[in-house]
Symmetry: C2
Subunit: 313 residues, 2 copies
Amino acid sequence: MNLGIDLGGTNIVAGLVDDNCNIIKKMSVPTLAERSFEEIIKDMAHLCNRLIEEAKIDISEVKALGVGTPGAVDNKKGIVLHAGNLGWHNAPIKNELGKYFKMPINIENDANAAAYGEYIACGVDIDDFLFITLGTGVGGGIIINKKIYRGFNGAGAELGHFTLVHDGIHCSCGKAGCWEAYASVSALISQTAEAIEENPDSLMAKSYKSVGEINGRTAFDAAKAGDKAAQRVVKKYLEYVADGICSMVNIFEPEVLLIGGGISKEGDYLLKPIAEYCEKNYFCKNIRQTRLGIAELGNDAGIIGAALAGAAD
Amino acid sequence: MNLGIDLGGTNIVAGLVDDNCNIIKKMSVPTLAERSFEEIIKDMAHLCNRLIEEAKIDISEVKALGVGTPGAVDNKKGIVLHAGNLGWHNAPIKNELGKYFKMPINIENDANAAAYGEYIACGVDIDDFLFITLGTGVGGGIIINKKIYRGFNGAGAELGHFTLVHDGIHCSCGKAGCWEAYASVSALISQTAEAIEENPDSLMAKSYKSVGEINGRTAFDAAKAGDKAAQRVVKKYLEYVADGICSMVNIFEPEVLLIGGGISKEGDYLLKPIAEYCEKNYFCKNIRQTRLGIAELGNDAGIIGAALAGAAD
């Protein structure tokens, strides 16, 4: 059994992961990110101990502990090099956690941990794998030769921050035209808001008036109900997503590419047009193609990936 | 000593590479690509034997033979899966060459072989490395964990074919807006031609009139001589190049990224603005940065890389 921790800006979630890669119990506490690094790690350790206690297992049954954290990570040293949303710079998580637990401890970037979780859940013997999350941002992780790819400085795989639209919309990262600025849920919400303003009589606009907010489902729901303006929003949004996915496949040619994040709940409604776009636009048309799919684990991916990634090295 | 072969659509070039990674002798014959696969391989073998003879060495001194070939390659089986410009589909190069040589034989995609050659020439102990060629097309290769990254189908690392301009110029690959369609020498020539038409009194236009052709140097030369219109062409072209390089770094965070191909001869005139753009636009600003540089080997990269890549696996 392994312990996996998904450290977020809002919550710390810990889970016990059994040898079949299932979470048998999980618990969480608020991160309260404004606190000191040591206090947060202390809470993390207490959460793990409570989890072990409530699961009625002995700590000797836990083989290893893994943490998925925001930011760039030096995996060898177990240090968070830089995590803006936690205000951490050169934070020695592994050392600090080592004060509480005498077991192997592994620290990964959270998106990489989630990618590894989805890779393991795939259950197939594949070497090269990509995971893309369409959430508040666009992120993901790369598995190469069955291992997480981290880049030389632990910041590898910012898949949402290649340029899809040169001289395009300003991205939160500071660069213009990133894929994230067009394919994230936040981007979809902006695209929906714009279309609502232009189409005040559309189903989308009515839904907005009655619900009082625009979210990642507004355009998708209205499109499925036949709203032409919403269908145009979804079509264009999926073009942005598909163009980015096709680009990733041309670069990596992974055996499997899975799409996760909030939007991935749209399932085939999302996947089918993306797959059609890609088949038409892939660079390599005469050889084996990447298998595209929807990720399975949702929020558990990070915990499972964090728990198991250390064993891969 | 190893033998390296760079198989192109026009020429087959073979070189003897010594243990210091230097080419001690090279020779070439025309590919005559319209011939049968077996005839081309036969010529390749004869070329190698002549090379060994003229270099006055014994074949027992040659430890291994490597080939860099266009197309997608199954490296394990030594098969070219698909190479459009040679008309090859499932061509068993390794087997066929094995009829002539009793030594380890390794087959790589040509861009990957060139990337490996530049990686070796780097001479530094680095794990993750990117090589980008700005030539007729934009290509390159990825070295991860000191090994060539090939993708699951041998077609990995089509770095020129991610979308830089969504809905942009039609690329020869069939997709719209590829980086290659903006950052290749061919793209620069189109951009120069357009500017010449709009600026008939410019230095570029005069150079075109006197030389009779536009090439990859036309705009660069005129820009250096103070031609404002040419400076605008170069500035915009370098923005396309830099935006793509910054995108690649955000995805891979390699320790070193080298730029090769015809345009790379511009040296610092090319590199400096790219580095400035990247420093300003990188996703990760608070940690170690990728070292950008100009590749060193030119056309020899493919031979050296092909000769040595087999030893890395």
